[in-house]
């Protein structure tokens, strides 16, 4: 894949995080995450074509199953089970959210982060986009009041780090990557169980309504 294609894919990832920040429906968020994961898988596939490492292909296949198929399926079933069609609100309203998004993207592209974005000089734009996605994903985690949105925010953050690692040529060996994906799979299952437990005990997934620890 040439740089322009990779840049296009990175922009899709970035736009997916922007969409996650402003969307209202949980189902849309889950599908957006699935799309984002699919794009990250395609980016990884590009690195497989360069290395021709079959273990890498296995990693990509497992990632596809876990992030694009299993995780969204888990979340959709949760949404259906608890009728969570609309996500709970954000701490900041949409106009301010958009301003923060613009500022974060600007910061990620600023001179301050050149040491990070120039790890591979040819990939400076790609790394800036990956860094922007990381910043926005972090913002997603702190700005959303919904537990499900927080989970998707963390997974989106992880996707952004994977994208950064690929562009910075910091990919780890296949065995370690499998270990990381296995960890993420377990994390998704545990987080999903917690979503059920939170809903059972609080009747909502709005984390701002959890105030049982104030003693």
């Amino acid at each position: 894949m040439n740089l322009l294609t990779l840049q296009f894919l990175s922009e899709i990832v970035l736009l997916s995080v922007v969409f996650l920040l402003i969307m209202k429906k949980n189902v849309s968020a889950v599908y957006t995450y699935a799309l984002q994961s699919l794009v990250v898988v395609i980016i990884l596939l590009n690195s497989f074509f360069e290395t021709k490492d079959l273990w890498m292909l296995l990693v990509i296949l497992v990632m596809l199953i876990v992030k694009v198929i299993v995780a969204p399926k888990f979340f959709i079933s949760l949404i259906k089970k608890y009728a969570l069609s609309f996500s709970v609100s954000t701490y900041l309203n949409t106009p301010i959210t958009l301003i923060v998004i613009a500022v974060l993207i600007f910061i990620a592209h600023s001179q301050k982060f050149v040491p990070l974005t120039s790890i591979v000089s040819d990939h400076q734009m790609l790394l800036s986009l990956a860094l922007s996605s990381m910043f926005l994903s972090l913002f997603l985690i702190v700005n959303r009041k919904g537990a499900l949105s927080q989970i998707i925010g963390i997974l989106s953050f992880e996707n952004s780090i994977v994208m950064f690692a690929v562009f910075a040529e910091l990919e780890q060996s296949a065995s370690l990557q499998l270990g990381i994906i296995f960890n993420i799979f377990i994390w998704i299952m545990i987080a999903s169980i917690f979503i059920s437990m939170l809903y059972k005990h609080f009747g909502t997934l709005n984390v701002s309504s959890m105030k049982k620890l104030k003693d």
Binding site: P115, L116, I161, L176, I186, F194, H201, K212, L213, D215
Partner: protein
């Protein structure tokens, strides 16, 4: 091979516990596996003290340096003590109908998995695998924190899961940045040694950014202020032995992994950068926790803040350098031991008074005489009262900073004094005075205070005498870190 045996033993124990339908089998298997781990941990520590660095097998997966061996030893002891205590503690809770058999089973399965993750994290030769293991500790303990299935426990566990996951992802990003010094296409699994020997090739600015991320990431697990917010909630909601493990075993493990990156960044940019950061986080942790402890209303939260304060003291020790490092390593050992004494004793208080509120606990010395005495000794140890070892470690750390950072040392001294006053205030209210009429006198079971007696004995001995092998390990660790 000892590390393989420890991990396989604990893993098999978890599987047996999962399949077993008899409580006594689960208890026996857990105690035996933790005893085997303890014995093998001692063997590992002895080997490292004589070999320097111990790399079982080909060294591809495991590598244990002196500081790692100290932590393996600590983990072996803390793990064994908490397992023994857990057996009786959960029996008492079953008698009170707080939990049932399924919960006991769940507890011991997760406890053994938690041990596996901790042993892997501290002994792994690969930084990414260490990260995976630390993340695995989060996953195995999330359900232990929500163990009582109450809304507050679920909330505490959720906070723990989210904050630690975000923190560790930041740590993961920082870890990846450290790999920029290596051509990954020509190297397979990168170990700590390779990372350290290539540190000279790290871009200094990138090394600084990487260390900041790692410090935030592992600092979240350690509980440095301001990444500490999960800690009081998780500690106060988890069963007492889990609190002891989180503070006495997991904290030092995360701390040591963070220190391994400090060694690398020190080579790349000089020691001043990491030392300054550690001093800032350390002092902030001491000040904030001391202020909150003074007005604490819950004794388990009080211990959580005390853990944060002690993490701050350790950070100051490594930040000041020199004698401070020696004292900080010794402080880690004492801290882990005293955590067992304090957390397990609060478990006894909770069993007796059915409340974690300081206000609801009165006359505990009359109600639980042995636990009361042990708690008061624990208080004297943790606040750094002579002749206990923690007095010396705090004194050495502060005196190490007096020359170059006198203001920091004096501020720390003031707030450490405030910690003493806070503990004195709360413990006086809890342990003295008249007991409530509805509370019966007497300890619940001898096994609920034997682990604490063991650890008080260990602290007293280590306060006056360091076994030669431990002294060797500490000296080697000082040279390395």
């Amino acid at each position: 091979m000892e590390i393989f045996f420890i991990i396989i033993t604990l893993f098999i124990a978890a599987i047996i516990n999962l399949l077993s339908k008899r409580k006594v089998v689960i208890e026996v298997v857990s105690v035996v596996s933790s005893l085997i781990s303890l014995v093998l941990s001692i063997v590992v520590a002895l080997k490292v003290s004589s070999l320097g660095i111990y790399t079982p097998g080909s060294g591809r997966f495991f590598s244990i340096d002196s500081l790692g061996a100290i932590i393996v030893l600590v983990l072996g002891f803390v793990g064994f003590a908490t397992t023994i205590y857990s057996v009786q503690y959960l029996r008492q809770e079953m008698q009170k109908s707080i939990i049932g058999f399924t919960r006991v089973k769940q507890y011991f399965v997760l406890l053994n998995m938690f041990f596996v993750a901790m042993f892997l994290a501290i002994t792994s030769s690969n930084p990414i695998f260490a990260w995976i293991s630390i993340e695995a500790t989060t996953l195995s303990t999330a359900f232990l924190i929500s163990f009582y299935n109450k809304p507050s426990a679920i909330e505490g566990a959720w906070k723990y899961l989210i904050i630690n996951s975000v923190g560790l992802l930041l740590g993961f990003f920082g870890t990846l940045l450290f790999f920029t010094s290596i051509d990954l296409s020509s190297v397979g699994l990168v170990d700590w040694q390779t990372l350290t020997s290539n540190a000279i090739h790290l871009d200094p600015l990138l090394a600084k950014i990487a260390f900041v991320f790692v410090l935030i990431g592992y600092g979240t697990k350690i509980g440095f202020v301001p990444m500490h917010t999960w800690k009081p909630d998780a500690y106060s909601k988890a069963p007492a032995p889990i609190g002891a493990l989180l503070s006495g075993a997991l904290l030092p493990i995360a701390f040591v992994i963070m220190l391994r990156y400090k060694v690398i960044v020190d080579i790349a940019v000089g020691p001043l950068f990491s030392q300054t950061l550690l001093i800032v986080f350390g002092l902030l942790s001491i000040v904030v926790s001391a202020l909150i402890m003074f007005n604490a209303k819950n004794y388990k939260r009080l211990l959580a803040y005390s853990s944060i304060e002690n993490a701050g003291v350790m950070a100051l020790g490594f930040g000041f350098g020199g004698l401070g490092i020696f004292a900080a390593i010794l402080h880690i050992v004492y801290h882990s031991c005293v955590r067992v004494v304090l957390f397990l004793s609060t478990g006894n208080l909770l069993l007796k008074y059915s409340s974690a509120k300081i206000f609801n606990v009165k006359g505990a010395l009359k109600v639980l005489p042995v636990t009361g005495v042990l708690s008061l000794i624990g208080f004297l140890i943790v606040t750094g009262v002579p002749p206990f070892g923690m007095f010396m470690t705090k004194l050495y750390i502060l005196s190490a900073g007096m020359k170059e950072y006198p203001v920091v040392s004096l501020i720390a001294l003031f707030f450490l004094a405030l910690v003493f006053v806070s503990f004195l205030k709360h413990f006086t209210a809890m342990f003295f005075g008249e007991k409530p009429d509805n509370i019966e006198k007497g300890e619940n079971n001898i096994w609920l205070f034997i682990p604490q007696i063991l650890f008080v004995t260990i602290i007293v001995i280590l306060s006056v005498y360091l076994p030669p092998f431990l002294q060797t390990l500490i000296n080697n660790a000082v040279l390395q870190y």
